[in-house]
């Protein structure tokens, strides 16, 4: 599955469709009569990521770790506080709404909740053709033809064109959302928990669909999920996020077989897996995810870490290359 990555190539721009450097997104907390900024929620706090063309980067983490914010910032639904986003060779960090608009053809997003992400007053045809209409590609009859074609590709029949979102089940709606995103022929799609709201048997259908579409249209995915099982299944590389920071990046095989960060280890052991034997678990973690307004000093994981030492409380570990495309942010790994 995974192409052998030559370290030199890994750093060259033309292989990577997306490069993020030291990306930060803070949400100010305002207070008082003059709306003074008293503090910041550090949702994304210095993230470096590269995504190679045609691959899937899985981003996994628990609620509140900032993975959705990272996805929205990359796609410029939110403006970054600091850092750099290079998409397809262009630095889009400072782009305003008008400058971003033409780029929307190339970068798309699929949302978690298929019940909320489709406008209930629009029928399937207008939902799927809207992107083409916005970017003024193709004539009206051509758009309809393309819509029919796309619907067929995502497994929906032509007669659905005149139907409204409420007439579909969750899985079918997610198919519509996928067709809608594909209509503008993007090269990069942020999938924000695309299967979390779906039933298990339907989840597998959508995951398979996303995989087959990736091959057919040469798509690059950033696949965000809290479910490591799904992420591992669909991704080439997996990044684990904790409290606004990436703590480990590795290939999807490596992350399971040889997790190095204590948080990754705990995450893996906590996942109930029918193919794991019952006795083969588990490292129990104590406490909850700390408040991102006031993250712990040093390594932000240290209050929950079973192996933390004194230095973890003082200095913040940087993401360091451990060889074999694995990078870990831990003093003790």
């Amino acid at each position: 599955m995974l192409p052998a990555i030559n370290p030199e190539n890994y750093l060259t721009a033309d292989m990577n469709i997306l490069e993020i450097k030291d990306l930060k997104k803070y949400f100010p907390i305002k207070s008082g009569v003059f709306s003074r900024t008293v503090n910041n929620v550090k949702a994304v706090d210095g993230v470096d990521l590269n995504i190679e063309k045609g691959t899937t980067l899985g981003l996994v983490g628990e609620s509140g770790c900032g993975k959705s914010t990272l996805g929205k910032t990359i796609i410029k639904l939110l403006n970054p506080t600091e850092g750099q986003i290079v998409f397809d060779g262009n630095d889009i960090t400072g782009f305003n709404t008008a400058e971003v608009r033409p780029l929307r053809k190339d970068m798309q997003m699929i949302f978690q909740n298929p019940y909320g992400s489709l406008n209930p007053r629009m029928n399937v045809e207008s939902l799927v053709t809207e992107g083409m209409e916005i970017h003024n590609i193709h004539s009206k009859p051509e758009r309809k033809e393309i819509a029919v074609d796309l619907l067929e590709k995502v497994g929906l029949a032509k007669y659905t064109l005149n139907k409204y979102p409420h007439e579909f089940s969750g899985g079918q709606r997610q198919r519509i959302a996928i067709a809608r995103a594909l209509a503008v022929k993007p090269s990069f799609i942020v999938c924000d928990e695309p299967v979390s709201a779906l039933d298990v048997s339907v989840q597998a259908q959508i995951v398979n669909l996303l995989q087959s579409l990736q091959d057919e249209f040469d798509l690059t995915y950033l696949f965000i999920s809290h479910d490591l099982r799904v992420v591992k299944h669909i991704s080439d590389m997996v990044a684990v996020m904790y409290l606004g920071k990436i703590v480990e990046i590795a290939t999807s095989e490596e992350i399971y077989e040889n997790p190095m960060h204590p948080y990754t280890k705990i995450l893996i052991s906590a996942i109930p897996d029918i193919k794991k034997s019952r006795e083969n678990r588990k490292i129990v973690i104590s406490g909850d995810v700390p408040n991102p307004i006031d993250p712990p000093s040093g390594c932000s994981f240290h209050p929950r870490c079973p192996i933390a030492e004194d230095k973890c409380k003082i200095s913040t570990p940087e993401l360091a290359d451990k060889g074999g495309n694995q990078m870990v942010a831990c003093h003790l790994a």
């Binding site: 053809k105 909320g116 992400s117 629009m122 809207e130």
Partner: protein, 331 residues
């Protein structure tokens, strides 16, 4: 799955149909609208069809120059000059008949006559157009202002919202009825002025409603979705948010129409309304003040019509609100 697809408004309509009272009320409003549109075929002293010397005049309610000053009733009622088909109510609302002043209801004047001998029924028929047009146009004006300001405030938020919200609040501190009275006291009290003044002073309710809906809906995922597709603010406001916030606005507008009709009647009652001889319902009601001790028909008929219209509009609004509100829908 391959069955016919039910759109949103159609499902609202099906739901609305389940409320019998609202359904009957809607029928009454439509009937009133029909009367308002075809008023001159229902009441008037000019014939609908006139045949004279082999020429057919239709509709003869139109003012043909050669008939100016003709009293059709006298000329054609049993005539050899040709024949005419009159409206069912053969009196014009402005036709004075000094031989029939303050007559109680009879077979000639079903609703009686007023102090100038004008047929009350005919005045009621012509009053429908005045009341409904004031109601609809005033609310049309206030809806346009309200939706525009509410949408901008709710969508952009921040400073824009702050400024517009203060504007709402300033507007709301004025007692609307007295504001209208004051403005009308200084201007020429024509029917158009009344519409505009009511419209310009009663938009705050709709504006606040739209602002609230926009504040809520702008955080919906499909708005983010439209943004990701590259949709402009214009598209997001008008294609994605507005259609989804329109239903409660229409409910509020229905109540607004009822309100405007009441305001007009109140103004006419106080003598600030539609200037005579325009036959507004409120005007007839105000005449009754002087004869209230015996001319009950001057109180009853306009009062009943205002009551029925306003109640029907409110029931339609209520039925509509229940139809769009999933929480109130029958499980």
């Amino acid at each position: 799955m391959e069955n016919e697809s039910i759109g949103y408004w159609k499902s609202v309509w099906i739901e609305f149909g389940k409320d019998k009272m609202a359904y009957i009320s809607l029928f009454l409003i439509l009937l009133l609208g029909f009367i308002a549109i075809f008023q001159s075929y229902i009441a008037g002293n000019k014939p609908i069809v006139l045949v004279e010397k082999g020429e057919i005049y239709f509709p003869a309610t139109f003012d043909y120059p050669q008939f100016t000053g003709t009293n059709f009733k006298r000329v054609y009622e049993n005539s050899e000059n040709g024949f005419a088909i009159f409206p069912p109510i053969k009196f014009s609302p402005t036709e004075n008949d000094l031989n029939a002043i303050l007559e109680p209801p009879s077979t000639t004047h079903l609703f009686g006559t007023d102090d100038r001998g004008r047929d009350v029924l005919s005045r009621m028929v012509y009053g429908a157009r005045i009341s409904l047009s004031i109601g609809f146009l005033a609310v049309g004006i206030s809806a346009i202002i309200g939706i525009f300001l509410g949408a901008i405030a709710g969508f952009y938020g921040g400073t824009i919202d702050f400024v517009i919200s203060r504007l709402f609040e300033i507007m709301m501190t004025f007692p609307v009825f007295f504001l209208i009275l004051t403005i009308l006291a200084f201007s020429n009290p024509s029917i158009y002025n009344i519409m505009i003044v009511i419209g310009l002073t009663s938009w705050t309710g709709i504006a606040r409603l739209v602002r609230g809906e926009f504040l809520k809906l702008r955080n919906f995922t499909y708005v983010d979705g439209a943004r990701v597709l590259g949709g402009s603010d214009f598209r997001i406001i008008f294609r994605h948010i507005l259609p989804n916030s329109l239903a409660p606005v229409l409910v509020s507008a229905t109540f607004g129409i009822a309100g405007a009709i009441l305001v007009e009647s109140g103004l006419s009652f106080l003598g600030f309304g539609v200037p005579p001889p325009e036959p507004s319902w409120g005007d007839t009601l105000s005449q009754s003040q002087k004869y209230v001790d015996f001319a009950w028909w001057l109180v009853l008929f306009p009062g009943l019509l205002i009551f029925l219209t306003v109640t029907s509009l409110n029931l339609v609004g209520e039925g509509f609100r229940n139809a769009i509100d999933p929480k109130l829908k029958g499980t």
